[in-house]
Amino acid sequence: MISTTTLFGLSSVILVGLGLFGLIVNPQPLRKILAFNLLGSGVFLLFGVIARRGAGAGLNSDPVPQALVITGLVVAFAATALAVALLLRLFQETGQAITLDTEDPSIHAPARSNDP
């Protein structure tokens, strides 16, 4: 019989795994952003589990992880917002979908030439 904590623990492991896979393998920025969120959720879930099992074991609940998870969620939300904003702006500039796996070759090309 699987206990609730183990079940949540396993779920968080699956989420982390999925997130890692997506973050590394998916070339599209939006999918990377989503993968980051999956990964983050996995970690927060794990934190929730730990509130039951870790130092808080035996207590009704450990308040510290809950406080930290909430803060973490806010941070992850802000990160997502920033990433999406950048992505939208990038789309406006280039007018096409880009991938992040190979970088823009113009970065390594010589600077724009104003010299005759």
Partner: protein
Amino acid sequence: MMQDPSNLLVLALVLPVAGLLLALVVGGRYAGRIALWLMPVGLAIAVMLVVSVIRADDALVYDLGGWMPPLGVALRADGLSAIFILTTVAVIGATGIFARTEFRTLPGQPETRTSLTFWALLLALWGALNLVFLSNDLFSLFVALELLTFSAIPLVCLDGRAGTLAAGLRYLLFALFGSVLYLLGAVLLYGAYGTLDIGLLSGLVRPEPVAWGAAALMTVGLMAKTALFPLHFWLPPAHAGAPAAASAVLSALVIKASLFLIVRLWFDAMPALMNPTAAQVLATLGAAAILFGSVLALRQARLKLLIAYSTVAQIGYLFLIFPLIVRPESGSFAAADLYTELAATVVSTSAWSGGVLQAVSHAFAKAAMFMAAGLIAQSLGHDRIADLSSIGRALPITVLAFALAGMSLMGLPPSGGFAAKWLLLTATIETGQWWWALVILGGGLLTGGYLFRVLAPALFGSRQSVTLRAPVARYREVVVLALALCSVLLGFVRLGAFDLVQIGRLAKAGMGLP
């Protein structure tokens, strides 16, 4: 107020944040002025902090809201924090003066986006850095690092071009990847030991699988944010694409923050895990960074990319301190009395001082170099290294500053870089690891090589006159020169002032180390 010097810790955090809020309220027209007025105050606070730490000869601690850890969150300033806070305010202040006119709204003109963004982000960056240096709690440190990343990335793509936006996005996503790994590690630690306070952890962490996993996750996550080879791919386009003032802060300070945290983790939070082989692994990555970064810098066509790759290389030196602090042969942790074992393990204070000196002098030198490159690019309209011939004639002060900063990077006397190398080399000898000496010396030769590519044509070019597209304000050149001089003059204060590094170190205070 001044009776208790630990109030300075709060002041150091409140000042930039207050400035940020004020700037957001009053708008871009006055944001620059607010930032520039706050910087001398910040400098005074940082100096008082350093003096207080020296006078107390111990770390200053401030428990927020009067709550003690593990429930509360503490701020703590030891010698290391104090040095970095002072460096931060010095570099940020110089950046502010350098960028004064660049991001200014002229009277009568409509307010521009960058004039507000730049100053607000600079203040945010300053606050976040101070938070990193003062936090004593792994979760606050996580928040501080995120704040830092969020304020650094918009600075990268301030000009809004597609190239820099893509660079910024890559930087952001990779940094987030690193943050999540760090957070995962912190979560594991909390699960095992029930606290995230560094001081408490240092006494609790035992060598066991959960701690190893946490340490590995956190270290690698932070390495990604520090751009240690081979996780450096985001750095060159981001640092080379940003405006000069932003590149200076990014390369000089931002990457040092995550490195600072790695040092905190290994030597303060989890000293029991300090493992000689792991230290050798970190240093090997550092050596690879020196080799790859320098060779790539040798081959860049653009000045800013060259400097960015030079940062990749210089980060490598900072990772060499790990094995130099831990002696390789006495690495067994199986002994019953862990702390006596540890006391025998931490031997070399030269490595500590050398590492800190390297970080600080690199901060000044690299800031100077990026700003010098910015002035050159602005006045010539390009930064192609091949076309820098005789630029020394047109911009003597800028090129002099670049050369002085280069001296420090190369480790020529009497620069701070020289003193740092001297101390690191001494540490290699004290700990009997001559192979790292070869890396340090060879890296100096490669550094000389890529700086030669810039300086030889700039100083000895055959062009008799160089026409500038845009004039360069003298005061901006002087700021760059002042930064470069700081990095050179640091070489004179070695030995003495860097005893400060040892003040309030947890391992020292808590465990009676020599």
